[in-house]
Subunit: 247 residues, 2 copies
């Protein structure tokens, strides 16, 4: 039996990256030996890192590493503590308008994370990086779009040892064109325990979701549309996000 | 008088990045307001960071920030402590051969540093990132080549807020096609105090150069060819790199 293909999988502790890891573990061309990578970047929602460790173990990753990087030194996002996380209900429009990039955008975050993942993939001799970006319910982040992924693969082809030596790294993005509801259904089909995942941008001390931030709203809507019960714990004073058609 | 154009300048404390900062400060289109950026990435040669701070002040940078990033968590390079730094004399060929990428290559390092610089440039509203890469005396690193820089600019155009909003970031690389000797002459013409810069991959406790690593060898050869005296201090037991034509 040939050795399994190695893959670096970016794992945030959220729903999308957990489903991405499950896809890599259940790939039709053989389960990948998954080297899960998370970042401690001064994020408000550090319960993500504990969730990532649990998800990595649950889905049989070969290992899980956390790279510390102090993005607070360059500031600029609600997710690293400089601005307030906006709250809105599912039925409210984004006050910044649909064409705006939200304040929770961390400048060049996916680019930075992919770059470090590429470095680790080179060290491991892994030909693939898996990333849970999504261009449907993508919150308006420019680094979640197909054009970005393609341009980044070109950078890897010309700017890494692996690329120069003819072993260009691929960026695998199975969720790219899936709705949030489909992501949840595909994850459920691959045995993802959603109770281990965290999506909230502003959880309480115990890691329970606020129910009001953009990420909570998108998650609740996705579970609603998928017809799946979300086992996420909510904080005591949270208003559970409104469900379409609920009384 | 219009406000000066802001620029993020990657500053390692070495010779090339110091000359790059000097070029940004003396640009024909007006001196840039330079926001110097260094990385504490677990490098062996941490005297680089002290040198970077001195160089930033000497050349009138608007500020100097250091982002901590623990690349040791993913290993893989002599510069982050996993492998021994190779020593050779200027007149010895590289034993790994001219086509090989040396062990001092840090996987995807420039890619990672440029990505974080792009994030800071977005926060600052700076339209330029300046980087001291060089494709002539470039030590065989794949992320020092023009193709890499162009591919990275494409990533910035499609994957950042600035790019999406029509303010694509430029990567300025004035040293790209200069010989080491020309870099030294251009730096001297712009008033760079080379005694503040550090190039050695393996300095002693006091930050003095070893005289034997690849970086020391390239530097000595460059000063020799430029006809400029290098004020770099060498460690007591160092063999100062051989000069061409010296007795």
């Amino acid at each position: 039996m040939p050795a399994p293909i190695r893959a670096v999988v970016l794992l945030s502790g959220g729903l999308d990256s957990a489903v991405t890891l499950a896809c890599a573990r259940a790939d039709p061309d053989g389960p990948r030996a998954c080297h899960a990578l998370s970042f401690d970047y001064g994020q408000r929602h550090r319960s993500e890192l504990r969730a990532a460790a649990r998800v990595a173990e649950h889905l049989g990753a070969a290992e899980h590493r956390v790279v510390a990087i102090d993005l607070r030194a360059i500031g600029g996002s609600a997710l690293t503590g400089e601005l307030a996380v906006p709250k809105r209900r599912a039925d409210e429009p984004d006050p910044s308008g649909p064409a705006r990039i939200p304040v929770t955008y961390v400048p060049a975050r996916n680019l930075t994370f992919l770059s470090i993942a590429a470095g680790w993939a080179e060290v491991l001799g892994a030909p693939e990086i898996w990333l849970g970006v999504n261009a449907v319910d993508y919150s308006g982040y420019p680094d979640c779009r197909p054009d970005f992924i393609h341009a980044f693969e070109r950078v890897l082809a010309v700017g890494t040892r692996a690329g120069v030596e003819g072993r260009a790294l691929r960026v695998r993005t199975p969720l790219l064109h899936w709705s949030k509801a489909r992501i949840i259904r595909e994850g459920a089909a691959r045995g993802v325990d959603f109770s281990l995942t965290r999506s909230c941008y502003d959880p309480d001390e115990a890691g329970r979701a606020c129910g009001a931030c953009e990420s909570c709203v998108l998650r609740a809507r996705g579970f609603d549309e998928a017809g799946v019960i979300d086992p996420t714990p909510y904080s005591a004073d949270a208003t559970r996000p409104a469900r379409r058609g609920a009384p």
